[in-house]
C-alpha cells in the first residue's frame, strides 16, 4: 500500500519528493509517529492522578482536624517545590528499589540483604520493569508533582465560592454533604478550570521527560532519527539533523497546547451554565 503510493508520487511529483516521502514513511519513522501514544497515555494518566491527588490535597488543606491540614500544606508546599525532572528520576528508582528490598528480605533473608555489596541484594529480587511499568511510574510521579499544583488551585477555587450561596443552601435545609457536593464542588469548577488548564499545559510539557525512564517516546526517537548517520546499512547518510526533528516536536507540543486551550474553553462554558459570574472571566 505504502510502496504503491510512493511509486505513484514518484511518477507524479518526481523522484526527489518521492524519495523524501519514502524516507519519512520508513519503518523507523513510523515507529516515531506511533510513539506519540506514550506521550498521550502519560499525559492523560498523569492528569487523572493529578486531579485525584489534587482533590485529596485540597480536602486535607481545609480539614478541621489540624494534623490533616499539616499534611495537606506539607504536600502542596514541599512537593510543588521539587523540580519535576528530579522527581521523575527519583521516584521510580526509589519505588523499584524499595520493592526489591522487600522481595530480597522475603526470598533471601535479612542476613543476605545486610551482607550484600551489589544491588539487588540477591538475583531473585531483581525486578525488571517493562515499558508499561515505567509508563505507570511516570504517570504516578507526574501525578504527584502536578497534584500539588492542582491541590492549590482546587483549594483556592473552593474558597472562592461565595459564602452567601452556601449559607443560603443550609438555610434551605440542605445537608452538609449536599452543600459540599451540590453547591461548593459544583460551583468550584468555574474558578478552578483556568488554573487547572495551566497545570495541564505544564503537565503536557513534562511528558517530554519520558525518555529518562527508558521509554522510547517521541523525544528519544527524534534524537535517534536526527542523529548523524555514516553507515549505509543504517539507512540514509546524513549529518546531524536533530534540530529538524526537535523542531517538529516543538510544533507538535504547540498544537497540543492549542487544542487543549480550545477544549478548556468549551469546558468553562459548560461549567458556567446557570451561574451569575460577575467578575469572573469567561475565557480561559
Amino acid at each position: 500500500m505504502l510502496e504503491s503510493l510512493i511509486t505513484w508520487v514518484n511518477a507524479w511529483l518526481g523522484e526527489d519528493v518521492g524519495a523524501k516521502l519514502a524516507y519519512i514513511t520508513n519503518g523507523k519513522h513510523l515507529l516515531w509517529y506511533a510513539s506519540v501514544r506514550f506521550t498521550l497515555i502519560a499525559a492523560f494518566g498523569s492528569a487523572a492522578f493529578a486531579v485525584f491527588f489534587g482533590l485529596i490535597g485540597a480536602a486535607l488543606k481545609q480539614a478541621t482536624f489540624t494534623p490533616f491540614r499539616w499534611i495537606g500544606n506539607f504536600y502542596t508546599t514541599i512537593v510543588r517545590g521539587v523540580p519535576d525532572l528530579l522527581f521523575i528520576l527519583f521516584f521510580p528508582l526509589a519505588f523499584e528499589q524499595t520493592v526489591e528490598y522487600f522481595i530480597a528480605r522475603v526470598k533471601c533473608g535479612a542476613d543476605v540483604v545486610a551482607a550484600a555489596t551489589t544491588w539487588p541484594p540477591c538475583p531473585e529480587a531483581q525486578w525488571l520493569l517493562s515499558t508499561g511499568d515505567y509508563l505507570f511510574m511516570a504517570c504516578l510521579s507526574l501525578g504527584i508533582v502536578y497534584g500539588a499544583f492542582a491541590a492549590n488551585v482546587i483549594h483556592g477555587a473552593m474558597q472562592a465560592v461565595s459564602k452567601g450561596q452556601l449559607e443560603a443552601a443550609s438555610a434551605y435545609g440542605f445537608s452538609r454533604r449536599q452543600v459540599f457536593w451540590q453547591f461548593k464542588v459544583r460551583q468550584m469548577w468555574v474558578y478552578a478550570l483556568p488554573g487547572l488548564s495551566n497545570v495541564w499545559i505544564l503537565l503536557i510539557k513534562a511528558t517530554s521527560f519520558l525518555s529518562l525512564l527508558q521509554i522510547a517516546d517521541i523525544v528519544t526517537w527524534a534524537g535517534r532519527l536526527g542523529g548523524a548517520n555514516y553507515f549505509p546499512r543504517m539507512g540514509l547518510i546524513h549529518p546531524d539533523w536533530r534540530w529538524k526533528y526537535y523542531l517538529v516536536l516543538f510544533i507538535f507540543f504547540i498544537l497540543l497546547t492549542m487544542i487543549s486551550e480550545r477544549f478548556f474553553e468549551v469546558l468553562q462554558t459548560r461549567a458556567s451554565r446557570g451561574m451569575s459570574l460577575a467578575g469572573v472571566k469567561s475565557d480561559v
Partner: protein, 249 residues
C-alpha cells in the same frame, strides 16, 4: 470441536514452553554498525544479531535481544537485566576483572585513527590535539594511558556522535575499531580518512557473561565452535565485512 482441541493444544504448548527453555536475554547497543544497529524498519540488525540468533538456535536456547546504552552495558549485565552482552565488545584484561568472556566470535583487528581529509599528523609524537574516543571503550582506556599527556581526550557517548564532531572539526582525531571507521570513511566520499598505523589494543570480540554463569559460557562456546566449523560464522562475516578477517585458512 476441532477448534476446541486446537485451542487446548495451543494453551498446553504455551504453558509448557517456559519449562522447556528459559529465555536468555542478550544485551546490545544498537548503535554500532555493522555489528549491531537499528535498520530502516526500526528493527535490530547486524552481524551480532544474526550470529547471536544462530548461536542460540545451535544451542537450542530461546534468546531475545534487548538494547542498553553502551556506558552502562557491563553494570546492567551484572545487575541481571540480561544474561549476555553482544555489542562489539573486545576482550580486554580490564574487563576480565569484572565479567567473563566466551570464545571470540570476531577476530582481533587493529584500531585506527580517523581524521578529516588533508590533515597531517606526526604519529610518532602526537601533541596539542583533541582526540575523540567513545566512552568506556578500550580505546578510551588506551588514549587515557598513552595519549593524555600533551593532548586533550574527549569522550563521546556513541560512535556516531564522535564522528559527527570530527566532521564538524571539533576534534582532530577519532580513535576507534578499524572496521566501522573504514565504513564511515567510505560513506563520507573522501571527506574523512583513516590515518596512521593500526594499533593493536584488545583481543577479538566475544560474548560478555557474568563470571558465575560457567554453564552458559560452556554451552555458547560449544555452539560457537560448531558454527565456526560449519562455516556459518565466516558466511556472516562475508555478509557484513566483505573481505574478512575469516576463521578458515
Amino acid at each position: 470441536m476441532k477448534k476446541l482441541i486446537l485451542s487446548l493444544t495451543l494453551a498446553a504448548s504455551v504453558v509448557a514452553s517456559p519449562a522447556l527453555s528459559q529465555t536468555v536475554r542478550i544485551g546490545t547497543e544498537g548503535a554500532y554498525a555493522p555489528y549491531n544497529y537499528v535498520n530502516d524498519n526500526g528493527e535490530l540488525a547486524g552481524y551480532e544479531i544474526d550470529l547471536g540468533n544462530a548461536m542460540c538456535a545451535e544451542a537450542k536456547l530461546t534468546c531475545e535481544f534487548v538494547t542498553n546504552e553502551w556506558d552502562s552495558i557491563i553494570p546492567n549485565l551484572i545487575a541481571g537485566n540480561y544474561d549476555m552482552i553482544m555489542a562489539g565488545m573486545s576482550i580486554t584484561e580490564d574487563r576480565k576483572k569484572t565479567i567473563a568472556f566466551s570464545d571470540e566470535y570476531y577476530p582481533a583487528e587493529p584500531s585506527r585513527f580517523m581524521a578529516t581529509a588533508g590533515a597531517k599528523f606526526d604519529f610518532t609524537a602526537l601533541k596539542g590535539l583533541k582526540i575523540g574516543v567513545q566512552g568506556a571503550t578500550m580505546h578510551a582506556a588506551y588514549a587515557e594511558e598513552n595519549l593524555a599527556a600533551g593532548n586533550t581526550i574527549l569522550s563521546f557517548e556513541t560512535f556516531d556522535q564522535a564522528v559527527a564532531d570530527l566532521a564538524a572539526g571539533n576534534i582532530d582525531l577519532f580513535l576507534a575499531d578499524g572496521d566501522p571507521l573504514n565504513n564511515v570513511a567510505e560513506a563520507s566520499k573522501g571527506a574523512m580518512v583513516a590515518v596512521g598505523e593500526g594499533i593493536r589494543i584488545g583481543d577479538g570480540m566475544a560474548v560478555g557473561l557474568r563470571q558465575k554463569d560457567t554453564d552458559l559460557a560452556a554451552t555458547l562456546n560449544k555452539a560457537l565452535t560448531s558454527l565456526k566449523k560449519k562455516g556459518v560464522v565466516d558466511k556472516l562475516i562475508k555478509v557484513y565485512f566483505k573481505d574478512g578477517p575469516f576463521y578458515s585458512n
